[in-house]
């Protein structure tokens, strides 16, 4: 009994000590500036130097947190535990958050740098008049592959190339229902926003015939595997492909001609915001041509910032794999918010497909 009491006391003392230290650290951290904003962004989605630069220029301290899925982000914003001043959802999630009244309107008069954005990316269907969103990055979904490790006749200009028998046990897919089922629908020449059970059934059956070629369905772990030549073909987002190609020059990226996804990530100010002026200052800062150019260089996704593109390496912005012209873009589709009922169905079909790959 005595030793039990001793152990309990020891644990309580250690906890109290840690709590005290944590408390001191926190107050020391925020003592310099009462002005802070909390940015909630995807992982690896900003040049960290720019956060320091922002603090230097404005005196606003940035608390930076990351998420790995739109859904996880929304759940946290909805529960309102933390005071996020900025979040970066994709377009279908913007629609969902709008429906749930989770967004605050953005004051364009506080964003002089908004003029840097290419008008093509403004006033899009998911947010008419950019009432709630300011574009951050955009991109596509396509196939990254290693030409030296696949048969010569494969260039992935068609989704059908994934079904090639020479790719047995070689294909990696991203772990996302919309991406994978969308690819199945695209390969049938259908819309990736299909709301039709028969079509989804058909797309899933088609995907199931791809099973022998599939090695794994994973997330961000695909990046190191492609870089180290451990994987040869992967379905992924354009920016992730750009990251891989930066490290491994042999890799190539293609967006199949039957169509694919075009997506937009945007800054929003969620209703949890505590420092709305600070949030505007941050968005305006990120829209600055030089800042944006530096950020694009780091992140590797495609920028909607026309002024920044003028400052970037022409080789990068002329690369049609990452900056498809408007004609190519017409082949691509933006995800629509299908509603929970259909999202659920997409996930059920995706689960069925995943169950079939072994």
């Amino acid at each position: 009994m005595k030793s039990l009491v001793q152990a309990t006391v020891a644990i309580i003392v250690v906890c109290a000590l840690l709590f005290f230290v944590a408390d001191r650290l926190e107050s020391a951290g925020s003592a310099g500036s009462k002005d802070t904003i909390t940015v909630y962004n995807w992982g690896e989605y900003i040049d960290p130097e720019l956060i320091d630069q922002f603090t230097e220029e404005t005196g606003i301290k940035v608390i930076y947190e990351t998420f790995d899925s739109n859904e996880a982000m929304m759940t946290k914003v909805e529960q309102g535990g933390s005071a996020y001043d900025i979040a970066v959802p994709s377009e279908y999630m913007v629609e969902m958050m709008k429906e749930k009244n989770l967004l605050l309107p953005i004051d364009h008069s506080k964003l002089p740098n908004l003029q840097n954005i290419d008008p093509y990316f403004l006033d899009l269907a998911f947010d008419p008049g950019n009432e709630f969103t300011i574009p951050y990055f955009w991109g596509t979904v396509g196939i990254v592959y290693n030409p030296s490790l696949v048969a010569d006749h494969l260039d992935f200009t068609s989704w059908e190339d994934l079904w090639d028998p020479s790719l047995k046990d070689k294909v990696f897919l991203v772990d996302g229902a919309r991406e994978v089922i969308g690819m199945g629908l695209n390969s049938l020449g259908e819309s990736l926003n299909a709301k039709d059970d028969a079509l989804l059934r058909q797309a899933t059956d088609k995907l199931i015939t791809l099973s022998p070629n599939i090695k794994a369905i994973i997330g961000d772990e695909i990046t190191p595997l492609m870089i180290n030549d451990e994987a040869t073909v992967a379905l992924t987002w354009s920016g992730q492909a750009a990251d891989m190609m930066w490290e491994n020059e042999e890799l190539d990226f293609a967006v199949p001609e039957e169509g694919s996804n075009l997506w937009f990530d945007s800054f929003v100010i969620p209703k949890t915001a505590a420092n709305i002026d600070g949030a505007h200052a941050f968005i305006n800062f990120m829209l600055d041509a030089e800042v944006s150019a530096q950020n694009n260089d780091y992140v590797g996704y495609s920028t909607p910032n026309a002024a920044a593109m003028e400052l970037m390496d022409p080789e990068v912005i002329e690369d049609e794999r990452f900056y498809p012209d408007e004609e190519l873009r017409d082949n691509l589709e933006v995800y629509e918010n299908l509603g929970l009922q259909w999202i659920g169905k997409y996930n059920e079909y995706f689960l069925e497909f995943k169950m079939s790959i072994r």
């Binding site: 859904e71 759940t75 229902a177 794994a216 030549d229 996930n347 069925e352 790959i357």
Partner: protein, 267 residues
């Protein structure tokens, strides 16, 4: 200290159990009967009996069984040998220490170890064997899971072996039992409780493993745990997620009953 615990002093424990044991279970059952629009329905239960979820339950079971089997196969002899060593508690400590390292960290390490250019393949090459794709196979999944569960299986078995009265073993040998018979008729039956609690702490979590299924098995293995995670975070279908959780709870209760009941009968 509380030898004559009155009902009053047990009050905090009742509160605790009501809040953190009963309330969550009731909530899970309640949510399992809601559809996406929040209406009462039993549709989630009928959906569970579709081929996809039944197949998933069976594969979860099969993998959990394999993991438990191999864990036991390694853990029992290890625990047995440990009790024979001189500094047995030191050795036990050394085996337990790796379980202090974060699970995800260990899992990520295996991605490197099993990689095409990782140490295992480098080792195979020394013997002139070709590079093997080890990652994203059944083997890698079971290997990593077994590795993770071994310490949890060893502890209860070690404790029951440690408590075994050695004179019983001597008596068996004096009466002419071979060492195998001694093990089968004396040692194993007397340590069966340790084995049972080892099986419980391995089998039940193995049913609901989820990060390893993606990182090491590349989603080639889908367990009930993975499905729950997907339902809550991606589909936002709390009803279906809760339904799977209800079945997981039922399965666990059955396992607890099965591994608990036989206790009296044999010994």
């Amino acid at each position: 200290m509380f030898s004559k615990a009155s009902k009053g002093s047990l009050f905090p424990y009742y509160i605790w159990i009501a809040l953190f044991v009963i309330a969550p279970i009731v909530l899970i059952v309640y949510y399992s009967m809601l559809d996406l629009n929040g209406n009462f329905t039993l549709a989630n239960y009928t959906a569970f009996f579709s081929s996809v979820y039944l197949k998933m339950t069976l594969t979860s079971f099969w993998y959990a069984f394999l993991i438990t089997f191999f864990t036991l196969l390694i853990a029992y002899p290890t625990a047995f040998l440990l009790t024979k060593t001189k500094h047995k508690h030191l050795w036990l400590m050394l085996i337990i220490i790796p379980s202090w390292i974060n699970l995800l960290l260990k899992t990520y390490a295996f991605i490197g170890i099993f990689g095409l250019y990782g140490p295992i393949n480098a080792f195979l090459e020394v013997f002139g064997l070709e590079e093997q794709q080890i990652l994203f196979t059944d083997f890698s999944f079971i290997f990593v899971s077994v590795y993770i569960f071994i310490p949890f299986m060893i502890i209860p078995i070690f404790n029951s072996l440690d408590k075994l009265n050695p004179t019983l073993v001597y008596a068996a040998r004096d009466l002419g039992a071979s060492s195998f018979t001694t093990f089968r008729r004396v040692i194993f039956p007397l340590t069966i409780d340790g084995v049972k609690s080892g099986i419980q702490v391995t089998f039940i979590p193995a049913l609901s493993l989820f990060m390893i299924t993606r990182l090491i098995a590349g989603n080639q293995v889908i367990t009930l745990g993975t499905a729950i995670e997907q339902q809550f975070l991606v589909s936002q279908n709390w009803g279906m997620g809760s339904t799977i959780a209800v079945f997981l709870i039922i399965i666990m209760v059955i396992i607890m009953l099965l591994t608990g009941q036989k206790k009296g009968g044999r010994a």
